[in-house]
Symmetry: C2
Subunit: 284 residues, 2 copies
């Protein structure tokens, strides 16, 4: 049974496309609408055959009771501005951006009659674009919601219902805390993986033929689309700065122990890292 | 048809245990022998039922025409000393250590009648111990050989035949070059993954519940046994020092671009890393 009259997805790449496929399969809405800036993306979305595809963002959101903004985080303000003229009063707006404080600020551009509740599903991957979308993307994944307590219970309820219906496991916190958490578990690792790839390819001994699963896994996320990640890293700059500095300190600490042939320190550091890593695989 | 009379595997953990299973399945030798320092490992090896299990290393190698040393790299010298009294003159010795220059030096402890040809199969994993051994471990994996040109063609031929028979793809180079290569593609990534795990767990925002595939993959190898890795990293200290310094520089470069809101530099760095990472997945 359709829980929403019409859901509009604004900016449909991997995340937006997957939302459309998941919402269609679960018959979440009476109808689906979507917009993408790029013509090839619109063509991909049309081929899915599940949503009405628009070339104008304001047209796309017209008549929707739930609007999901999935444009890159550095275009959030522009997107909110672009959809505002088309929003039905009372329509609830959510998003899927990897940072929340800056987007919450940008959401002030929305009409007062349209509550915004930020969301961040921890799903994605290094393969961007609607062409890689799939209906199971959110299944079992953590989805942060960052309500401000200013929104109505109905609006919050609608956003909860929406993300839960896609299979996500909700976790509610405030935008600032969210940004601190994802810096640690996602943004810092992303930048560190890029730095490792750059540092390793600089070495005279770097040989592609001998690369095994170790370096491949360690750098896998460095294959992510830089245009998406520039926006994310800059919008979370404060926590990135702190986190990357901590990584530099730890690399230098390991290096110093190696240079000093300091077996006890090196063993302790590697053991602490091993235990922490094994902990990630323990059930909660 | 058996290519060797008797193969002795000295120090049978993941690598040594897998060699035994692979050699048995391919009937590489008339008989197999093995030694492990630890009683539980010897029990595991006995359960495999493919090799005679010894509690004394010199006894283990007696009568073998090929001896494979698979003890941790920091015990190589001790192992060479321990097997020497049992070695049959002419028996060829190889190993599977992750560093080669220091082991080649340690191999001078072997009797003059026993040629040593270093080897390093790029196989392993964060699950150590004979209990995780499997017969396919070397299938399609790169295996470095580091001959010195001092050994006889027969000895080199025997070592080539042995590793190739286990399914490995041989790559011959000298010990110094080998150590430089594996620093870049394996040892530096290992230390960097440990440093990232330590840096991330230090962050106030670190939350296990939200950790996804990104951090998991990026730090997977940090779950490796520290006692093995202390020896490897210290035996390759020079290249580790250079490589880790390069990683520190690259992390600092990314951090500086983020702190300065320098979009062009950040985009360029992330793009270079993306392209290099995607290159790892291109066929040679």
């Amino acid at each position: 049974m359709a829980q929403f009259k019409r859901i509009a997805v604004v900016g449909a790449g991997l995340i937006g496309g997957s939302i459309l496929l998941a919402a269609a399969r679960r018959s979440l809405a009476g109808s689906l609408a979507c917009w993408s800036r790029s013509e090839p993306s619109r063509a991909t979305l049309s081929r899915f055959g599940v949503a009405e595809v628009f070339a104008d963002p304001a047209e796309c959101v017209r008549g929707a009771d739930l609007v999901v903004v999935t444009t890159p985080v550095d275009t959030a303000e522009e997107t909110f501005r672009a959809i505002s003229p088309g929003l039905t009063p009372g329509a609830v707006v959510t998003d899927a951006g990897s940072v929340k404080a800056s987007i919450q600020l940008a959401a002030r551009r929305l009409p007062a009659a349209n509550p915004f509740i930020g969301a961040h599903p921890m799903a994605g991957g290094e393969k961007a674009g609607a062409a890689h979308a799939h209906a199971d993307l959110f299944e079992g994944r953590v989805c942060f919601l960052t309500p401000t307590s200013a929104e109505s219970p109905e609006a919050l309820g609608a956003v909860r219902l929406f993300w839960q219906s896609l299979g996500a496991v909700l976790h509610e916190t405030d935008a600032a805390k969210h940004d601190e958490i994802v810096a640690a578990i996602s943004h810092v690792p992303h930048a560190a993986a890029s730095a490792l790839m750059l540092g390793v390819m600089d070495q005279p001994g770097f040989r592609r033929f001998a690369v095994g699963a170790g370096l491949r896994d360690t750098t896998r996320i460095a294959a992510g689309e830089e245009n998406l990640w520039v926006g994310i890293l800059l919008a979370n700059a404060h926590h990135l700065s702190t986190g990357l500095r901590a990584v530099e300190v730890r690399v230098a600490e390991l290096r110093a122990a190696i240079e000093a042939n300091d077996i006890p320190t090196l063993r302790r550091l590697l053991a602490e890292a091993r235990i922490a890593r094994q902990d990630l695989d323990r059930p909660e």
